[in-house]
């Protein structure tokens, strides 16, 4: 399992691995929004939590279709399916690798982009906290979507359409934490719900994704 994690991380950092792709997208999005919306600090402060969360969500989506498709193309997925590690474990490890190369950098980068969007000072801690709790759910839900579409050519668009609706609860509670934090309100309830979504999807979806992979391997 650790060998698989190390291989996926190594592949992500080598040429053409796609590391930084999501990060670059996140950066560009956060720079474009003030250009489109106008530079009024009050407006920006109002929309900053939502924009940052939507940006993180879309950036996560960018690299999802590579998760299983590349392994399927070169035959590694067949070999992994016959290897001694369970397919559920393969899914969980690949989701973790996706989070480490996409989600975690987004969490670290978000406060910097918060400055660009005039995010209120009180909200920075909550932004990091909510992304840290919420982005693992994005990777796990995405792994399920990637497993569903693995055999399809050009499955990326279908994957987005399948996965984005599943991201809605994470987005709602994630952005709610930051909005409440910015206004100095109590954030316990959305934070707990966010953590619940992450824990629940991490517990259930690897099994569903492994089932989908087995069907797609036939």
């Amino acid at each position: 399992m650790i060998a698989l994690l190390l291989r996926d991380l190594r592949l992500a950092f080598r040429a053409g691995g796609g590391f930084g792709l999501g990060l670059g997208f996140f950066l560009v999005l956060a720079v474009l929004v003030p250009l489109g919306v106008g530079s009024d600090p009050r407006t920006l402060a109002l929309i900053a939590p939502g924009i940052l969360w939507i940006g993180a969500l879309l950036a996560c989506l960018l690299s999802l279709d590579r998760m299983f498709a590349l392994d399927h193309e070169d035959g590694s997925l067949d070999l992994l399916a016959t290897a001694p590690i369970p397919l559920e474990g393969v899914v969980a490890v690949k989701a973790l690798a996706h989070w480490l190369t996409t989600g975690l950098p987004l969490v670290l980068m978000a406060p910097l982009l918060g400055v660009l969007l005039n995010l209120p000072g009180a909200a920075y801690g909550w932004l990091i906290m909510s992304l840290l709790l919420g982005t693992p759910a994005l990777s796990v839900i995405g792994a399920f979507g990637a497993a569903l579409t693995v055999g399809l050519k050009r499955g990326g668009l279908l994957l987005s359409i399948l996965v984005l609706p599943l991201y809605i609860p994470t987005l709602i509670y994630g952005a709610e934490v930051v909005i409440r934090g910015a206004q100095g309100l109590d954030t316990t309830t959305p934070l707990l719900l966010l953590a619940g979504i992450t824990a629940g999807s991490a517990a259930i979806l690897p099994f569903a994704a492994a089932l989908a992979l087995r069907v797609n391997l036939r």
Binding site: D74, G75, L79, T82, P84, I85, L217
Partner: protein, 205 residues
Amino acid sequence: MELAVSDLTCARGGVPLLEGVRFTLPAGAALVLRGPNGCGKTTLLRTIAGLQPQLSGTIDCPPDAITYAGHADGLKAVLTVAENLAFWAAIHGTPGIDAALEAMNLTDLAARQAQHLSAGQKRRLGLARLLVTGRPIWLLDEPTVSLDTASVALFGSVARTHLARGGTALMASHIDLGLNEARVLDLTSYRAAPRLPQGFDEAFA
């Protein structure tokens, strides 16, 4: 390590290709599957490997004994030969890749990225993976594609060593590997009879 298959029916895309396939492979034996293109050699191998369910019949073999080498070698282009092989060794929990590199004549290429290998060298690396899995039953789908004569002979001797250690090999191949002891199974005689469409279409007949 014995592999026993009885009354196996397997299908591709919902169409039964082979039915009533039965054979027993005792330890140290090899079986070569023959038959024209599309007769179901790959389907049979994938079914036995557990990658797709059989329609009926049984496959008897010890758990975690089978390794499968298909048309694709499962190599990562940006990893080196040694890294690719070391990954599969780690996944299967076997120590060391030097013997496998040596056996498939890859030692000189160990530090080269897989994307810079020739087709034949890639295949040799794919076959070296069989050695690091440490599994006794090899399912090989056209193992000699894009190998030159010398490499075919090299793989023939590797396979013979594997059989001598009590391993088993089931392969679909058109080329003679020089395994004189291998039995040949012609799949043409197991071809599934065409079946009339059932159920759904009857209302329109």
